[in-house]
């Protein structure tokens, strides 16, 4: 699973062309066009309610979007997805292992975990330092621990494209560092990553490209080019009517 140490897999490039989304007569996205380069870590930033999550749901084919979203695969076609939150009944008697098993196999998890998946699951949980809590019930996990488990499931099977919807939100410092380290490993292997991230400092340090979205693309480019104080201030203080669209 996580032993692709030979030639690093190259993730796909993604092309958003005039993507729009309208739900219940409310425009969520309008004319969104930008490109994610193959193997890049591409961060999406923008104010809350700006349509970032809707855009990646569109990328996953979960939204009735208009326009064109094209993924140009090079090798594998595996997508890993870390959702913002997992909505589930916290009283469910489902352990972390059960949850991971459900991701891997078709056979009901309560029967047993197939032998060949046991190591895979254990490795994935070890990567996020959750292997010691594999038998804990999901409802007993803290927000940060749950986020780490969600991250672990996105690594099975090894993704060529990883989509992250604020995995760092509400996570503890240790968890954030663990996730950051894994992301760096994935980056070295040139896995394409689309990452919704509010931590601009982290974006500056880690991202290859950044796009700011507030219904439309406000700006898109490398962090050095576009993350100027003026643009960031404009993006996070502006409304849609007075936003000045700017692309390098």
């Amino acid at each position: 699973m996580l032993t692709k140490n030979e030639d690093p897999p190259r993730g796909p490039s993604i092309c958003f062309e005039m993507v729009g989304l309208c739900l219940s007569n409310i425009t969520i996205l309008q004319d969104v066009s930008f490109t994610v380069k193959a193997g890049d870590m591409h961060c999406l930033i923008g104010p809350n309610g700006g349509g970032k999550t809707s855009l990646i749901l569109s990328l996953l084919g979960q939204m009735p979007h208009t326009g064109r979203i094209a993924i140009n695969w090079t090798d594998g076609t595996t997508i890993g997805y870390v959702p913002q939150v997992l909505d589930f009944d916290r009283t469910l008697p489902v352990t972390v292992n059960n949850f991971m098993t459900m991701i891997c196999q078709n056979m009901p998890a309560f029967i047993r975990t197939k032998k060949r998946y046991k190591d895979i699951i254990n490795n994935a949980l070890r990567l996020v330092s959750m292997d010691t809590k594999a038998e804990r019930r999901l409802g007993e996990l803290s927000g940060g621990e749950m986020q780490r488990v969600l991250f672990a499931q996105a690594l099975i099977p090894f993704p060529d494209l990883l989509i992250l919807d604020e995995p760092g939100a509400g996570i503890d410092r240790i968890g954030a560092r663990v996730i950051e380290e894994i992301i760096l490993v994935l980056k070295k292997q040139k896995v394409t990553m689309v990452w919704i991230n509010h931590d601009l400092k982290q974006v500056r340090q880690m991202a290859d490209a950044v796009t700011c979205i507030h219904k439309q693309v406000l700006f898109s480019g490398t962090p050095e080019e576009v993350l100027t104080t003026e643009k960031v201030f404009q993006a996070f203080s502006a409304t849609t009517t007075n936003v000045r669209r700017d692309s390098p």
Binding site: L59, L60, G61, M63, H65, I69, I71, N72, W73, T74
Partner: protein, 206 residues
């Protein structure tokens, strides 16, 4: 390299799948219902027979059911008493409906019972005739029991029930001289055919 264009999720396709699935479920259910539906097997009755379930009103049904139960008692008592038949008085003393003068008896037309015993050698027969005191509630009932003691011990004595219950709409009839099916049918009596648990099982299970 190959390009995958992400298809937008559409409710139209889900709607289509939903309608198709619903149609399939309804079709399967309809086929199952059609397959399992069958014409209720009706008990074929002869001209001289009537159904104790369909052709009698509730009061007459009460008398018929009581008489059916009493007939089995009388038959068993006949076996136990070395061929003697219980008299009407015996039955009343035993509080055996419909002979006993109880509330149900009063409501069912206050049938007055008489008995005739027609034993011939080893063939023992008896009949109980009940005539109503109140004419507009019930007609006459006739219970005929027959025992053939010529059959050897251990052999089944009867192919069918050793008794028959007859009904006549007339309120005043003479005691029949002959108790054969043919003669009773000619005289206008109708044999009452019970609706048993077996009949119901056959109706349900086929």
């Amino acid at each position: 390299m190959h390009t995958q264009v992400v298809k937008p999720s559409g409710s139209s396709r889900e709607g289509l799948y939903f309608v198709l699935t619903t149609a399939v479920v309804i079709a399967v259910a309809a086929i199952c219902i059609m397959h399992r539906t069958r014409v209720e097997p009706e008990k074929i009755l002869f001209e001289y027979q009537i159904s104790g379930y369909k052709d009698l009103n509730s009061f007459k049904q009460g008398t018929f059911v009581a008489l059916y139960t009493a007939a089995m008692e009388i038959d068993a008592a006949h076996d136990n008493n070395e061929g003697t038949w219980l008299s009407v008085k015996d039955l009343q003393e035993r509080f055996m409906p419909p002979f006993a003068h109880d509330r149900a008896w009063a409501m069912s037309g206050k049938l007055i019972w008489t008995q005739k015993i027609l034993n011939k050698n080893m063939i023992h027969a008896t009949a109980y005739l009940g005539k109503p005191s109140i004419s507009d509630i019930s007609g006459c009932f006739l219970l005929v029991l027959l025992h053939d003691h010529n059959t050897e011990i251990g052999e089944p004595e009867h192919d069918e029930e050793p008794f028959k219950i007859w009904y006549s709409n007339k309120i005043d009839v003479d005691f029949p001289e002959m108790l054969s099916v043919r003669s009773l049918a000619i005289m206008g009596w109708k044999e009452v055919i019970p609706y048993t648990g077996d009949d119901e099982m056959k109706r349900i299970k086929g």
